[in-house]
């Protein structure tokens, strides 16, 4: 029988997490489908569950001195509704395109990150936002950049006694976020590929800083340092024309039921151009 813990303080949650091998549950929108899939082919077993949802204070999205803090229970819907500057427009766009409204109302951004699916729509956005993950354990707090937090295909740097408690997004002046998702139907669709970006411009309309990431084109979503370097200092209006195939170096798209690797590679360039074409 699966034991079920639903503590009301973070301290208790950390104690339970440290004391047993539990599955951490937030919105449950990844946990339940995975459980159903296993049970369908004869594995109904499940780890004990640590449900974080009764702990107060974890849902908040707050402005801080350095930027913003997104609590680990903040849902896609709460992100969409939150008053946030244009740097978050990409993340908000992703939130609107995750599943249907049912999933947006329950699923969390942190859950999306911890699942670490190559097709997780939140992840390239977090990479482009230069977000860091606040991780807690009975041993204390640590903060990891998202790119360090993600260690591989559906793998993270979370230790067995750790919980992700929040995301931090640093401020960036004059920055605009964007997102482009490609799927084979309108709603409820897993991305074939997606591109996210945050671009800061200077007073002259030039790119001061570009952070561009692609998802579903490698085991872990990746930033594109070559493209970012190429964009720096160029006229914002001309950014889209700069995208070149060699900017995708380091990506390793695969063939799967949704698309072929060759298509993904080409589509990624199109998504990047579309992303850079759009402004605010």
């Amino acid at each position: 029988m699966t034991a079920y813990h639903r503590p009301t303080t973070l301290q208790d949650a950390l104690a339970i997490r440290a004391g047993a091998d539990v599955a951490v549950l937030a919105g449950g929108t990844d946990i339940f489908p995975a459980r159903t899939a296993r049970a369908a082919w004869g594995d109904p077993t499940h780890k004990d569950v640590l449900d974080l949802s009764a702990i107060p204070g974890l849902r908040d999205i707050d402005e801080t001195a350095a930027g913003w803090r997104i609590g680990c229970l903040a849902t896609w819907s709460s992100l969409m509704r939150a008053k946030l500057p244009p740097i978050f427009d990409g993340l908000k766009a992703a939130a609107r395109e995750v599943g249907g409204m049912q999933v947006q109302n329950r699923g969390t951004l942190v859950g999306n990150l911890v699942t670490a699916s190559p097709a997780g729509d939140g992840i390239p956005n977090l990479l482009a936002l230069n977000a860091t993950v606040e991780v807690a354990s009975p041993r204390g707090l640590r903060v990891l950049p998202v790119a360090v937090f993600l260690t591989g295909y559906r793998a993270t740097a979370l230790a067995a006694d750790e919980l992700a408690t929040a995301l931090h997004v640093p401020r960036l002046e004059n920055a605009q976020g964007g997102f482009r998702k490609l799927g084979a139907r309108h709603y409820l669709v897993i991305s074939i590929a997606m591109a996210a970006g945050v671009i800061a411009t200077d007073a002259a309309g030039r790119v001061a800083e570009a952070r561009i990431a692609l998802g579903a084109c490698s085991a872990v979503a990746q930033r594109l340092p070559l493209l970012e370097a190429a964009l720096r200092g160029v006229e914002r209006a001309k950014a889209a024309q700069l995208v070149q195939p060699h900017h995708l170096a380091g990506l390793s798209p695969i063939d799967d039921i949704r698309a072929t690797a060759a298509y993904r590679r080409d589509a990624a360039l199109v998504l990047l151009r579309d992303l850079l074409e759009a402004r605010g």
């Binding site: 079920y4 339940f32 082919w41 569950v49 409204m101 999933v103 709603y187 039921i257 949704r258 060759a262």
Partner: protein, 895 residues
């Protein structure tokens, strides 16, 4: 178990439930609120949508523990703001025909409530966004969007006597579908029922041996572990009368992934807790034959003793001598397995009779009488010992024609001598039940200088999977239809059904004809291009019509409205072409394209007797009851039969009561398939009404056109006569029967396979993002000859739903065993994918049909995919010969 306290539909509620159990399960199984449906248990279908603190959420993704302290609203809500909005929406859904099978309706309603509480006056886009997380397989969404947008629904006045046919009345079974009280397969079971879980093969081809099952049964706390040895009768079922090739439980050998191997029976908790790996099954995997090419190879192992070369059946049609002509087209085409994806997975229960012989089965089905025959054989009892009580059916589309749960439940209930229930998981439903046959087609077509079609050749292999199911139909229905609804003098058609180690293929809306139409319509476009003819023009020149002879040599004496369908589309076609030309002039990245396709479809079984029989009683207490054995799977046959029967009798529809599809109480009205219910059973309903009318007139000695009126037990006949029913010696009873006249096909496929045909044409407007290969359907205009629209709202619903499925077939649906066994990898259209649809109903009456009506269910799907392919070609210049046209496939062709 924990106690969970929350507010449920406005009232406080405490329930003891496992904290990790999905809230949908707790609502259904512990609180008895079965209005919340479960279609996937993975967030993919939205059937379980409820409101949690006012926001829509999938109850299948919420641990019951999280309900603590929350406000939960379900479709059963009647009070407060939610209740008020729901009442309004229910009325609108009824008026607009927004519920067909109704399995998605609770989810749709709750998603709509969520929206309307936030935004009382939304636009269509906002409604689409709000409902985007709920899948509907029946309606094509348009009527649902209309209903949500209708702020003040006007109830439809009940039709007067003699005016029911042709009236867009609300479906008679609609209310229960909208208040959550309709009983689908998983919604009802005796309290003492045990649960059955089927252990299925993870291998596509394997031998297996079983160890000590008795020890396992003990260790796992089960009541029984069923094997092939527990089948009391014949361990075999199948559609073909002479070929029962599929075992209920495999006997040492499995031929596809998902084949039933063992049945675990026990308490729900016990069967759910079993790990398959803990069972004493030893697998010896064998090489598997995937696809017809592998199975037809010289050295392919033979899968069934009766099928050398793995050939199940081959059929053909020969007429004249095909030859080359001025214009010649040829192509090879490939289609995929397509899943029915009804939102209701198979479910039901069996109740054994204490005599050890009788068995009652409550389950979703399209064919109760066939279920009875199959179950009786498996049990080794006489057919009348088995009673099939169809549950409400949450979508079928052909997939619930074959038995699924019925024989398994019967074997379990007999062995345990207790009621036993089962609910298939989504994956189990997808892995184990039938699919649309994948086809590999080579076809050739020729036309003369005037664009008249002169020759047609068709050669196709259909993958019937591991078992025959409806494979025989490949050999007869396909060759007859393959050439399309055109006058062609010379044809040579061949179709084979080939066994493989894939999921069994069976019946699916349009049966083989949609696959053939994809090939044929593409060749028609080729010929038009070669001859410089407009694509509408070439079809109009060749369209088969009244007085013409079909490819099987049948003269169409009446009801052949394809020319009228095409004429109805002409203005929209011209406008579409102009719109495309204007848009594409600047060579934009997103191109538009217009496409067109036609179809024909024989109503009823091919060259086979397929009678329907009905009964109508007017009892001495004044109740008027139609005993109707036709199963309504959402298409509306219950309503349509009643409309027809009411007008035939001459009493108003509202005075009718119904006994529906129960093999112990109604006559056999055949299967709900082959677009036959309105035509065949409808005619039987008409004959039944007329027969009772004749009895009444004779009794009253009244003239033919006497007007009837029923008040209590007083039956007024004309102006002068009144029959006091209470004073009669017995109830008045009448029967009607109809069996369409067909003849067998000869060795050249010549004969009269169907009494009548449906015809349709559709045009599609698509946009293609040429950089990404993404196609979006912008608009469909359909014209369909339905003979007579008995209920225009229901007819439109069938056409919209067929188009949505055709769109899925064209653009996204591909079942791959082991890989797309769920509704997030297997994509069906959502509310955002189905375009605006305009429909022209053409009514060229069928003299054989009731009030001129004929079938509409399947035809709508057939032209959609070829019309979309035609439009993609118009937009891009690329002819796609493989479906679905996933973005990467189109992109590859464009490179």
């Amino acid at each position: 178990m924990i106690d969970i306290a929350f507010t449920l539909n406005g009232a406080p509620c405490t329930v003891s439930a496992p904290p990790f159990a999905p809230l949908s399960d707790t609502l259904r199984e512990r609180l008895g609120l079965t209005g919340t449906k479960e279609g996937c248990n993975a967030g993919d279908c939205g059937a379980c949508t409820v409101l949690v603190d006012g926001a829509q959420a999938c109850a299948c993704l919420i641990p019951s523990a999280q309900a603590q302290g929350a406000q939960i609203h379900t479709v059963e809500a009647t009070q407060g703001a939610v209740g008020a909005v729901l009442a309004r929406l229910r009325a609108a859904f009824l008026v607009h025909g927004a519920a067909q099978c109704g399995i998605c309706s609770p989810g749709m309603l709750m998603a709509a409530v969520d929206l309307l509480l936030r935004d009382p006056t939304p636009d269509r886009a906002a409604v689409r966004d709000a409902l985007g997380g709920v899948l509907c397989r029946c309606t094509g969404y348009a009527k649902i969007l209309d209903a949500v947008l209708d702020a003040a629904p006007q109830a439809i006045a009940p039709p007067r006597a003699g005016e029911a046919v042709g009236a867009s009345i609300a479906r008679l079974d609609g209310v229960a579908k909208l208040d959550g009280t309709d009983r689908f397969g998983a919604d009802e079971a005796p309290v003492d029922a045990l649960w059955l879980r089927v252990v299925r093969s993870p291998h596509a081809s394997a031998r297996f041996s079983l160890g000590d099952l008795e020890a396992a049964r003990h260790a796992l706390g089960l009541e029984a572990i069923l094997t092939a040895a527990d089948v009391p009768g014949v361990n075999a079922f199948g559609i073909m009368p002479n070929l029962k090739d599929q075992p209920v439980l495999a006997d040492g050998l499995v031929r596809f992934r998902g084949e039933a191997v063992l049945g675990l029976v026990g308490t729900r908790e016990a069967v759910a807790a079993v790990r398959d790996a803990a069972l004493p099954i030893t697998w010896h995997p064998l090489p598997a034959l995937h696809g017809t090419a592998a199975a037809s190879a010289e050295d392919a192992p033979q899968l069934h003793a009766h099928a050398p070369g793995n050939l199940l059946i081959e059929g053909g049609l020969n007429r004249g001598t095909p030859a080359r002509d001025v214009a010649n087209a040829e192509g090879r085409f490939t289609t995929a397995f397509v899943e029915h994806a009804y939102i209701e997975p198979e479910a039901g229960y069996a109740q054994p009779a204490p005599d050890g012989i009788g068995m009652e089965i409550f389950a979703c089905t399209q064919a109760p009488y066939m279920d009875r025959e199959e179950t009786a054989r498996v049990l080794g009892v006489a057919e009348d010992a088995v009673r099939i009580r169809p549950s409400a059916c949450g979508g079928g589309f052909g997939g619930k024609l074959d038995v699924s749960v019925q024989p398994l439940l019967a074997v379990a209930a007999r062995k345990l001598n207790r009621p036993v229930r089962i609910v298939y998981s989504r994956a189990e439903s997808m892995a184990s039940t039938t699919k649309r046959h994948p086809a590999r087609i080579t076809a050739r077509m020729a036309a003369d200088a005037e664009g008249r079609f002169t020759s047609y050749e068709f050669d196709a292999d259909f993958n019937t999977g591991a078992y025959a199911s409806w494979g025989a139909t490949v050999a007869n229905r396909v060759p007859v239809h393959a050439g399309g609804p055109y006058r062609i003098a010379n044809l040579r058609n061949r179709a084979r059904a080939i066994y493989t180690n894939d999921t069994p293929a069976g019946a699916f809306r349009g049966f083989g004809v949609p696959q053939a139409a994809i090939a044929t319509e593409s060749l028609v476009d080729d010929l038009a291009e070669q001859l410089g003819l407009d694509r509408w023009e070439i079809r109009r020149r060749n369209a088969i019509g009244r007085g013409d002879t079909t490819h099987s040599g049948q003269v169409l004496h009446a009801s052949a409205g394809l020319p009228e369908c095409l004429d109805a589309l002409k203005p929209a076609w011209d406008a579409m072409l102009a719109q495309v030309a204007a848009h594409n002039a600047g060579l934009p990245r997103v191109r538009l394209g217009a496409g067109i396709a036609c179809m024909w479809y024989g109503c009823g079984n091919t060259s086979m007797s397929n009678p329907s029989r009905m009964k109508l009683t007017l009892a001495r207490d004044g109740t008027l009851t139609l005993f109707n054995g036709a199963v309504d799977i959402g298409q509306g046959s219950t309503t349509v039969m009643a409309q027809i029967c009411a007008d035939a009798l001459g009493l108003p529809l509202r005075q009718f009561r119904f006994v529906l599809g129960d093999t112990s109480r109604t006559y056999d009205a055949g299967k709900t398939s082959a677009s036959r219910q309105t035509f065949v059973s409808g005619r039987a309903a008409m004959e039944t009404g007329l027969a009772l009318r004749r009895r009444i007139l004779a009794l009253a000695n009244a003239g033919e056109d006497a007007v009837l009126a029923l008040e209590g037990t007083q039956l007024r006949v004309g102006d002068a006569r009144v029959i006091d029913l209470a004073a009669l010696a017995e109830d008045l009873e009448a029967e009607g029967r109809y069996d369409p006249a067909t003849t067998a096909l000869d060795e050249n496929g010549q004969g009269t396979p169907y009494a009548t045909y449906g015809f349709a044409a559709q045009i599609a407007l698509v946009s293609v993002d040429t950089a990404l290969g993404v196609t979006k359907v912008r608009r469909i205009v359909a014209a369909q000859d339905v003979g007579r629209a008995v209920n225009p709202t229901l007819v439109l619903g069938q056409i919209h739903g067929g188009i949505a499925q055709g769109l899925g077939l064209a653009l996204m649906e591909e079942f791959i065993p082991g890989r797309t066994e769920n509704l997030h990898d297997y994509l069906i259209p959502t509310a955002g994918d189905v375009p605006e649809i305009d429909v022209h109903l053409i009514e060229d009456p069928e003299p054989e049909g009731p009030y001129g009506a004929k079938g509409v269910g399947e035809p709508a799907l057939v032209p959609t995919a070829p019309a979309i392919l035609s439009a993609i070609r118009h937009a891009t210049g690329i002819t796609m010969r493989q479906v679905p046209v996933l973005p990467h496939r189109l992109w590859e062709q464009m490179q």
